[in-house]
């Protein structure tokens, strides 16, 4: 397996160093412990902090900047960061008005961010945590660690970041984030597994005629292994699962995200988006805004996910508000 790697143990650090060098106008990368902070912190603004295992780039560091995150804390590949870098990043971004943690629902992430939050609170820093769990692939979530946090995270980071920028306080932001979590659903399909740099091994095996349906973002298993099919059939299956679960008031409008898993050409993502738009049109769901690209990835896994977020005018205003990060920028 060919990989652009020097020393696998230095992979995350070297990638972060390159990210910092490329986007030094927007972010500052701290090497030890590893975290990424917005270069221009805003006095008095609530800090928005996210993080989690590496391998999902551009999530989260690619979304640090004006109108989105103040800090991102990356762990090793597919491994949560420990509490100390989270705590240090928290201290750096806190402006006295508190810090909101946006955490994807994985046990390791929850426990490490929760521990960091307790340490921060013991130092007098206000911290609130909102857990993102948008993955409808996980069924019987009462008997498991629950639904996973996947691509919907990027939509939540954008909207909550915009609300923080306009001056919302910590409680308002936590409330907004919780409302967004309740309104967003995602589902993904893998057509080829990722390869983890330090092991050089594929996370799972998949034959040419198979897809893993309902995949997570760490190479963990999906809902079912099914037959490879034309793009429209795969898009329909994923979209149906999302629509089945998405709370949609009559006349609902949505933000639609077709997300690439890391090794899928943009042209293929647009083939999927074309079908998603066609289907939503048929059932009268208006796509108010769209996003197509690889935003929440799983190294070089091939495949896609579809995320729908139900929105109103206020959420659309926040979506349209200026954003200036490495990977998402508009307005202003």
């Amino acid at each position: 397996m060919k990989k652009l790697v020097n020393d696998p143990r230095r992979f995350v650090a070297e990638s972060l160093a390159g990210f910092g060098a490329a986007h030094g106008d927007i972010v500052r990368v701290n090497e030890t412990p590893a975290y990424v902070v917005r270069r221009a912190l805003v006095a008095g603004k609530v800090g928005i902090l996210s993080g989690g295992g590496s391998g999902h780039e551009p999530l989260h560091a690619g979304f640090v900047g004006l109108g989105m995150l103040d800090a991102a804390v990356p762990g090793e590949i597919f491994t949560s960061p420990t509490p100390d870098p989270v705590l240090e990043a928290t201290r750096v971004v806190d402006q006295g008005t508190g810090v909101l943690y946006l955490v994807k629902n994985y046990t390791g992430d929850i426990l490490n961010f929760e521990t960091a939050a307790e340490f921060a609170q013991a130092e007098g820093i206000l911290v609130r945590t909102v857990v993102v769990d948008d993955d409808v692939a996980v069924q019987n979530s009462e008997f498991t660690a629950g639904r996973r946090g996947v691509a919907g995270t990027v939509l939540i980071e954008k909207i909550v970041g915009a609300a923080a920028e306009r001056g919302d306080d910590l409680e308002e932001l936590a409330g907004l984030a919780a409302r967004l979590v309740a309104s967003v659903r995602s589902m993904g399909v893998a057509i080829a597994p990722p390869t983890v740099p330090h092991s050089g091994m594929r996370s799972f095996e998949l034959n040419d005629d198979e897809v893993e349906f309902g995949i997570g973002i760490h190479g963990e298993r999906g809902r079912a292994r099914t037959a490879m099919a034309p793009a429209d059939e795969l898009a329909d299956a994923v979209l149906d699962a999302v629509l089945d679960d998405l709370p949609r008031p009559a006349g609902a409008r949505v933000i639609a995200l077709v997300n690439g898993m890391g090794a899928t050409p943009v042209a293929e993502l647009y083939v999927i988006y074309r079908r998603v738009a066609e289907r939503l049109g048929e059932i009268g769901v208006e796509i108010a805004r769209s996003l197509v690209g690889s935003y929440v990835t799983s190294l070089d896994m091939a495949g896609f996910s579809v995320t729908l977020l139900t929105v109103d005018d206020e959420l659309l205003r926040l979506w349209d508000a200026p954003v200036r990060t490495a990977m998402l920028r508009w307005g202003g």
């Binding site: 949560s80 420990t82 509490p83 994985y106 426990l111 521990t115 498991t144 660690a145 298993r221």
Partner: protein, 210 residues
Amino acid sequence: MSLDATWVVAWMTAAAAAIADQAPTLNDLDRAIGDGDHGENMNRGFTAVRDAVRELPDGAQPAEVLRASAMKLISSVGGAAGPLYGTALLRASDAVAGLSEVDSAHVLALLEAALGGIEDRGHAAPGDKTMVDAWSVAVDAARSAVAEGRTSAEILDAAADGAESGAETTDAMLPHKGRASYLGERAVGHRDPGAVSTAIILLAAAEAAK
């Protein structure tokens, strides 16, 4: 017999050696129902703990050794195990705060506090196929031993045996927490790696008291 800070140092040192020895086994158990790095993560953490407790000043109290160990585990293990074991030792430290020697009643208090910390942090209950299944049987066994008027060393022996048998019971369980929970029935027949590392750590506590 009472146990002082040298017992805690010996406990952590013995745990580090045993974890290093059994890291491949823990990795194998984790590969079956998790992501295969429990032994590697625990070995990294306990190696850091072993080095940290060596550096503590003479006259440090048991609570201080436990607290220093907890902070090392939290900052170096990662995954779910770091905060779980770290919280366990932090609570254990609180349970013996201010004492220069730990008597049999406080050995039990220390173990109960550790279990309480793990339950609060991980929200797991007995039967969920986690380290709680080893800890809870260990604490029950320690409680019985205290009621029978046993010595601290005997209480720790009982706890270590309890943890071992508690870990064995996880084989038949369906997982309800952590990444293993997504496997459902496919995880039955596999032993929980966290329950096994708990048994290793509590055996080290008993050995260090001898």
